[in-house]
C-alpha cells in the first residue's frame, strides 16, 4: 500500500514479527511431526528418521486401549453434551437477549462464573457430589459435569447472534397469529440455525478436548479419548511408545476434523465484535 515510504524501523519490526510466527509454526509442526513420525516408526532411537515405517501400531493401539469402546463413549458423551447444551442454552439465550427482567444481572453473573473459575476448582466438589449421588464414574455423571461450562458458553455466544435479529420479524409472525412454539419452529430456528450450529461446533471441540472435568468424574467405563490418552502417557513404559503416539494421532485427527468444520462456519475474528473491514 505505502511500502515505499515505510521507515526502516517499521519494516524491521514487521520482519521480526513474521520471523517469530515462522519460528512458532516450524516448531509446532516439528512437535506434531515427531508424534506423527513416531506413530509410523518401526524403531526410532537416536537417529533423524526411524529405521522403517509401519502401520501396525494403529492396530495395536486399537486393541490395547480398547479404542473402539473409548471412541463410542466419547461419541455418546460429546453427542449428549452438544444436544443438551443446545436445548438448554439457546432458549435461555433468546430470553436473555429479548427481555429485560429484574434478576437478569444475577443470571448473567451465574452464567459467567463457571467460565471464570478453573474447572478443577468446581470439578472436585462436583465430583464429590456426583460420587455421593451414585452418578460418579458413570456416563451420565461425565455428561452432567461437561454441561457446566458448555451451557453458559452456548448462552454467551448466542446472545449477540440473537440480538442482531430484527424483533419485527417475530412480531410480524405473531400478528399473523403464530403461537410462541410456532414462532420458534418456523421463524427463529431457521434464522438462528447458522449461529446455533457455530456455537454447538465450538462446544463439540471443547468437549472432546475437555480434560479436567472428565478426568475427575470418569470411571473405568466412561473415559473419553483425551482421558484415556492421559492414562496411556501417564503409565508409559508398560506399552510401546509408538502405540501411544498412534492413539494421540487418532485423538488429534478427531478434533482437527471438527475444528476445520467449525472454522468454515465461524469467522474466528468475530467472536466478540463485528469486524469492520476497510477496503482502502
Amino acid at each position: 500500500m505505502f511500502a515505499a515510504r515505510t521507515p526502516l524501523s517499521t519494516r524491521l519490526w514487521v520482519a521480526g514479527v513474521w520471523l517469530f510466527v515462522a519460528f512458532f509454526v516450524v516448531n509446532l509442526f516439528g512437535l506434531i511431526g515427531s508424534v506423527l513420525t513416531s506413530s509410523f516408526a518401526t524403531r526410532w532411537l537416536g537417529t533423524w528418521l526411524p529405521a522403517g515405517f509401519t502401520t501396525k501400531w494403529y492396530f495395536a493401539a486399537w486393541d490395547e486401549f480398547q479404542l473402539g469402546d473409548v471412541l463410542w463413549v466419547t461419541f455418546q458423551v460429546v453427542g449428549s453434551v452438544v444436544a443438551l447444551s443446545g436445548l438448554v442454552g439457546v432458549p435461555a439465550a433468546y430470553a436473555l437477549a429479548r427481555r429485560e427482567f429484574p434478576a437478569k444481572k444475577a443470571v448473567m453473573l451465574l452464567l459467567l462464573l463457571p467460565l471464570l473459575v478453573p474447572p478443577v476448582t468446581y470439578g472436585i466438589p462436583l465430583a464429590t457430589v456426583l460420587y455421593k449421588s451414585g452418578l460418579g464414574g458413570s456416563l451420565a455423571g461425565v455428561i452432567l459435569a461437561n454441561l457446566v461450562p458448555t451451557v453458559p458458553f452456548v448462552v454467551l455466544v448466542m446472545i449477540p447472534f440473537i440480538e442482531q435479529i430484527d424483533p419485527r420479524i417475530e412480531a410480524a409472525a405473531r400478528v399473523f397469529g403464530a403461537s410462541t412454539p410456532k414462532v420458534f419452529v418456523y421463524v427463529l430456528v431457521p434464522i438462528l440455525l447458522p449461529g446455533v450450529l457455530a456455537a454447538l461446533l465450538l462446544v463439540l471441540v471443547r468437549t472432546i478436548a475437555m480434560f479436567e472435568l472428565t478426568f475427575l468424574v470418569a470411571g473405568p467405563g466412561s473415559q473419553t479419548l483425551v482421558v484415556a490418552l492421559y492414562y496411556a502417557v501417564f503409565a508409559a513404559g508398560v506399552r510401546a511408545v509408538q502405540s501411544i503416539d498412534a492413539m494421540a494421532v487418532i485423538y488429534m485427527i478427531t478434533t482437527l476434523v471438527w475444528l476445520i468444520i467449525a472454522l468454515r462456519f465461524v469467522n474466528p475474528t468475530q467472536i466478540v465484535a463485528r469486524a469492520k473491514r476497510s477496503n482502502t
Binding site: 515427531s34 427482567f101 478453573p118 472436585i124 480434560f211 490418552l229
Partner: protein
C-alpha cells in the same frame, strides 16, 4: 401466559399483565432450565464443597483444613508454584498475540494462517506434552537441529521441569489468547488509525495513543480468560513437568487429596483456596480496567 391465575378482564391490569410489564412472560421462563442446570451443577456443588471444607475428615476445628494448608509448606507452596507458571505464561501469550494479531488484521487471506495458529487447540495438553517429550527430548529434532547447527554443544534440559510445563502451556493456550485478541483488534475501526496517520503519527505512536487505550479493556478480559486456563494446569504439569517438586501445582495437590488420600474435605478446601486465588487475580485485573477508557471502539461518530 398459562402460569398466571385466571384473568379478571373488568378491573385493572391482570397479574399476567403486571408481570409482563416487569418483563416476566412466557419467553422469560425459557431462562429457567439454564438457571436450574447452573444452580444444580455449579452453585450447589460449590456450596457443598465450601461446607465440606469446614468439616474436616478427621473431625476437629472448622478451620483445620485451612490451617493445615497454610502451615504445611508442601501444600502452601503450590500457590506460588502455580502463579509462577500461570502469570508469566498468560502475559507472554498476550505479548505474542498482540503484534501477530496486528499483522494478521492487515492480511487479505487470514483463514489459512489463523487455522494454523489455532491448530494447537486440537492437540490438547496431553498430545502437546507427548510431542514435547519427543521434540525437545535429548534425541528430538529440536535438540538435533540446534546441535547440528552448532548452537548447542549438549542437549537442553527442557522437559521434566519448569520450562517444559511453561512451553507446553504457551503452546496450548496461545490459540485461545490469539483468537480473542484478534477479535478485539479487528473490532476497532481502522479509520481511527487512518485519522492518526493523516495527522502524522508514527506507527509506534498510533499504537500507543490510539490502539492501546481502546484495546486495554479487551486485553484485560483476554488476560482473565487465558489465566483461568493456565491456572488449572493438571496434565502438562504431570506429564512434562516435575510433579513432585518444581511443578507441583495446586491442582495436583487438590487431586492427590481427593483421589489418593480420599480426603474430600481437604480437597474441597484446596479447591476453594484455588478459586479464591484465581478470583483475586481476576478482580485485580478487571478492577484496573475500570481506570481505563471504556466506550465505543467500533465506530466513532461526531
Amino acid at each position: 401466559m398459562s402460569a398466571a391465575p385466571s384473568a379478571r378482564r373488568t378491573e385493572g391490569p391482570t397479574l399476567t399483565q403486571k408481570l409482563r410489564a416487569r418483563g416476566l412472560d412466557g419467553v422469560t421462563l425459557l431462562v429457567l432450565p439454564c438457571v436450574v442446570v447452573a444452580v444444580a451443577l455449579f452453585v450447589y456443588p460449590f456450596l457443598y464443597g465450601l461446607w465440606l471444607s469446614f468439616h474436616p475428615k478427621a473431625g476437629g476445628d472448622a478451620l483445620t483444613n485451612y490451617e493445615r494448608f497454610f502451615s504445611d509448606p508442601f501444600l502452601s507452596k503450590t500457590i506460588w508454584t502455580t502463579l509462577r507458571l500461570a502469570l508469566p505464561v498468560t502475559l507472554l501469550n498476550l505479548l505474542i498475540a498482540v503484534p501477530i494479531a496486528f499483522r494478521v488484521r492487515l492480511m487479505k487471506h487470514q483463514r489459512l494462517l489463523t487455522t494454523i495458529l489455532v491448530l494447537p487447540i486440537t492437540l490438547g495438553t496431553v498430545l502437546i506434552a507427548e510431542g514435547m517429550l519427543f521434540y525437545f527430548g535429548p534425541q528430538g529434532w529440536f535438540t538435533r537441529s540446534l546441535m547440528w547447527l552448532g548452537v548447542l554443544s549438549h542437549p537442553l534440559h527442557i522437559v521434566h521441569g519448569y520450562w517444559g510445563v511453561f512451553l507446553s502451556l504457551v503452546i496450548a493456550i496461545f490459540p485461545f489468547t490469539f483468537l480473542l485478541t484478534l477479535s478485539y483488534v479487528t473490532g476497532i475501526d481502522p479509520s481511527l488509525e487512518q485519522a492518526a496517520a493523516t495527522l502524522g503519527a508514527s506507527p509506534a505512536a498510533r499504537f500507543r495513543e490510539v490502539y492501546l487505550p481502546l484495546l486495554l479493556p479487551g486485553l484485560a478480559i483476554t488476560f482473565c480468560l487465558s489465566f483461568v486456563q493456565a491456572f488449572s494446569v493438571l496434565p502438562s504439569a504431570v506429564l512434562v513437568g516435575d510433579p513432585a517438586n518444581t511443578t507441583r501445582v495446586i491442582s495436583i495437590a487438590a487431586y492427590q487429596a481427593a483421589f489418593e488420600e480420599y480426603d474430600y474435605s481437604l480437597a474441597s478446601a484446596i479447591a476453594m483456596i484455588m478459586g479464591a486465588v484465581q478470583l483475586v487475580v481476576v478482580v485485580v485485573i478487571l478492577g484496573g480496567r475500570t481506570l481505563l477508557y471504556r466506550g465505543p471502539v467500533a465506530a466513532a461518530k461526531g
